[in-house]
Subunit: 363 residues, 4 copies
């Protein structure tokens, strides 16, 4: 049965992409679109400045935009939030209290220990925190509780994709460095990055980004305590992570030059590393999710790949490309990772998370 979906921040950059992905989705249909009071009450087509390369879907044009109140989303099985951090904190809290399931692209609740921070091709098993909450409520005969699941930061998503299978197979990563070359689409478009900042230029700084990458990676690669009762991120002692983030003149697709050292000595061979990445099948694919990539990680052998313009659309943006895997004179291995920042790094991740929730019967 098709599930009813709502979108918060529907006129923004992330909201538009949620709508685009939902409009062609077999499992979801749009039930409610929420935006600021300036837009509320207007037809979506009139309220939005549509800036996608695909046309505004016919099915969304006539939906009346509502305010971001839980009441307006009462009938939704799932709510996707593309809200700015300035508003997400308060609104998402309200929605949870009203018993709604929220998948959020905002950063506000990512650090909360009972909120799963999910990259759907990496750690969908972390939704078990929510699963338990639902089961407990059911056992107690309470009404279904609301919850939030957070989408990771866009640059974190690409980074952890190859790390997950490597850690599973070869044990902990002791040290990790990443230098990113990030696309501008992640910054939205009102106004987003000024043109003068990226024309014949790079900006070697993205506010808050390095910090996010450093701790989100440790949460996503973390796990449950031995007795399963508690979720525990990795500590700095377990995994040292350093990020340097740059904005470059690319529309979509974050490129990252990473370097890593395994804790176990001797480390695996170069060929073992490549084979491990090639063999990785994410759980979302095993669950048969509609948007799950056919090939989770594309290992490229050409010397000059991956490149954002050529490789960002693999598996409709849900696959991650890894190239130039080679030994590193300082740590163990270095490689180049490319991921689609608005798909696996933002709205697309939200959709695939919802598909996972559906497959696990949590919605």
């Amino acid at each position: 049965m098709v599930k009813k979906a709502g979108v918060l921040g529907a006129t923004g950059s992330v909201g538009q992409r949620f709508i685009l992905l939902l409009s062609e989705h077999p499992d979801f249909e749009i039930q409610a679109l929420g935006a600021s009071s300036r837009s509320a009450g207007r037809r979506y087509e009139d309220a939005v400045t549509w800036k996608q390369t695909s046309l505004l879907p016919e099915s969304a044009k006539n939906i009346l935009v509502s305010e971001c109140s839980a009441a307006a989303f009462a009938g939704c099985d799932i709510v996707f939030s593309g809200l700015d951090a300035d508003y997400a904190g308060e609104i998402e809290k309200q929605f949870v209290e009203a018993g709604l399931a929220v998948v959020s692209n905002a950063k506000n609740y990512r650090r909360n220990v009972d909120v799963p921070l999910i990259v759907p091709i990496v750690n969908p098993e972390h939704v078990s925190v929510v699963e338990k909450k639902l089961t407990d409520a059911q056992a107690k005969g309470e009404k279904k509780p609301g919850y939030i699941i957070c989408i990771s930061n866009c640059s974190t998503a690409g980074l952890v994709a190859p790390l997950k299978p490597l850690v599973e197979k070869f044990g902990p990563i002791d040290m990790l460095t990443t230098t990113t070359l990030q696309a501008i689409s992640g910054a939205g478009f009102s106004p987003g990055i000024p043109g003068i900042d990226i024309l014949d230029n790079i900006v070697p700084y993205i506010s808050g980004e390095e910090d996010k990458m450093e701790w989100e990676t440790k949460k996503i690669l973390g796990g449950f305590s031995a007795d399963g009762s508690e979720f525990v991120p990795l500590t700095h002692e377990q995994m040292k992570v350093s990020a340097q983030c740059n904005r470059v003149a690319v529309s979509d697709g974050h490129t990252e030059c990473i370097s890593l050292k395994f804790a176990n000595r001797p480390p695996p061979s170069l060929e073992q590393v490549k084979q491990c990445l090639r063999d990785y099948v994410c759980d979302a694919a095993k669950l048969g999710c509609h948007s799950a990539p056919k090939q989770t990680i594309h290992v490229l052998e050409q010397a000059d790949r991956p490149q954002p313009r050529l490789d960002r659309d693999r598996d409709a943006g849900y696959g991650v490309s890894v190239g130039r895997i080679r030994e590193d004179p300082v740590l163990d291995f270095k490689m180049v990772v490319l991921s689609h920042n608005t798909i696996i790094g933002a709205a697309g991740a939200g959709i695939l998370i919802a598909e996972i929730l559906l497959a696990k019967k949590l919605i």
Copy 2:
């Protein structure tokens, strides 16, 4: 007295910049321009496809281009070579055998132990290899021998600029990683980087570049054996260097995200590192060289700098900008280094090297 200068590869990208810099130089005047036999015999203005943002200097327009034979450059006090590696090997060898002094941008002789590899704001003292050769010949009453001095790779130049004062003050660097975002001007323009490769794209690969950065850094930071008889580059055990090189949509100016660990424990403080870089005065400046930067290293405190478009022209491209100096969770410190690849990283370096030779009375 004004010295007579020749330029090899005069119609190419590097050659054009040599000519531009020489045409306004108080210490040099152009005596000979050499190019392929296709151009030889033509007025320079007719032979060249001039692609600089400054106009072709009047003084160069009517010079007759000659072939790249030592005979045609016989009267030159100094010869600047902008030749492609395919031709530089043979031609530069001939010039040296004919007793000429060559400052070369080609890679061919960089690894030779008796050829100084010079970044003029970093290690001009390494020209002493040449100095000794000249003194020895003079002592023996032999005629002045020819010699080559090599300009470093463009991305190496920016990297070693901050390393030199740090090593002088705080001792050896044990580990160093650098991820570069390199401009396209370094690749010349016939054809150079195809537009389709850098529009909405980055190319995470530059042939041979990473290897060059890794060993050139160790040669430039190397020194003479205890008895002064032999030049010895650093070994991998002394300094581990790892480079990841990317081509981005920037016209001029290489940006590098570097991370380093000192050998000595504890390492210096963040403020000590910054102060050391601010205080650095390169020898070329002490020698009063015309093109030496007033401020060798510009330490920037704004969060989002250096940026190539805004900062590449400091001290006419001879100064290096370093920003975002901060502690690194993996090694000791990380920072962003920006240098002008066609000035301090190529033709400009050649001119400043010649000024140093002049100041040291080697030409």
Copy 3:
């Protein structure tokens, strides 16, 4: 029944796009791929440097590349030529003499009076020259003759799309000016436009382009003599055309600012012009061709559209977008036209022409 297709110049930029479009096409299957002798005998995957944003189709990987000889294409129902003009003249002639049907993107035969110059959404009726040739041969019991159909220049294709319905409805256009802002993909990629030429730059010149636009337009809008016996392009007296062509930093999608004056006085109203364009249904659509655009011309009302990044993919690149239609203080009307240069302006046009030939039972 699926028709057998060959591709000449298969490793080049246009050839790659033919292969991409054919590999998913219901009516055609690739039978032969031709390239230079350097590539001949190799598997296509090994011979090509694939530079498309979609992956090299599995079905094409193992095809053995042949030389561009008619013999190697003997079994083909249709041959698509992406050859450079340097080779197309001789090779295509040979193919025609061997009785093959060639749809060519090269410029060599475009001016020939018995070669139709076709923009498939504009003047497919001009293939009747070929139709007659085939019927005549059949009537005489001769074997099926070979023929060439030329694809127009990429910038011409976009220009004539709105002109056709306007001329049909409102009579001849007396004067037409167009200033183009052309994408770089049309220039191929070995090397195509150098990056340094389009980064922070435009190049106000494309060799031969203005001349092509000026006369091709008059051929495409021309027609048959009263007795139907002869094809006659428009004369300069009938239609004065002036083009100014620029290369800009856009990957795909040619934008043109056009201005036109009708011969008939008074001219139609602004609303009549818009309605005429909205109402236009190209013959390829009426014939039910697979790739024909659902909407031939998209009339945009937003002030700042069409834009290449947002609008070039309408109808998979087969639709043309026209915006900013307004009265012109000098001629009658001005407007902005956007078309996808590699689809409706090159390889895609070739495929749609072949579909038209198929619908008309000419192959």
Copy 4:
């Protein structure tokens, strides 16, 4: 004697360029800097987000920013206004009433019949309106009245530069079309043009720009009535002008593809047109103004020039480049004009206007 200058809108994009040009100017020194109340009272260095490629001049760093009140600028001989149109109307009016001389980049007073609209390399003689006002006041023994002189729109400045000498020599231009490819720097930087709008894109629309170009051209090419008593712009009947404006991915330098028809028949020859442009010496140069271009119009003969990156800096941005002059199949001639939008099209024009006022002893 050095004149005292004030700058309104000192922290904005145009204001920063006024300050840069003034800081190295032999005839002016900065006396007062005005900005919004948010900045007032702070040191300029602290108030501004400096975004120029040259460093913030030392001499400007410590100037205390004041509010934009006439009192704070009382001692100024000349005031340069880089105010936004939202504020310029009221503030500039106040300044004039207080007897100050204002050179404004804002559009507010451009249409006023008693306000000269000046492109300093084109129509400095139009300042005679102001000259008369000053003489009249002096004759009457009244105190020196204030006045405004308006800088033209950036794209108008480039357009009229070649028109002026052509009209002077060959008589009126009957029809003129221009299609512009405009740089982004003209749009300022807070936020200016969003990066996503100019990366792999063009925007075929700039609000209000086409209208400005169409009427400003007619005012600048206008003149005084026969009895000299009244300034009269050209009428639409005298000169029909049509502009199509596009924003492209260029940092500085507006390129315009223009086409024109003279009123007189037969028109001049192609060579006469070129010679006329080459020979043009603007009045500012004849007056010996410091910033006047040595060569007002650079006629380029290379097929692919002018190009913004290579040619925008001719004569420090005060010279205009014209290339590809050729006959036009629709009107008489077509050509490509390049001008530096922030120099001759904005702040630089203001400085040169002030130099003209100084040469004419109006300040």
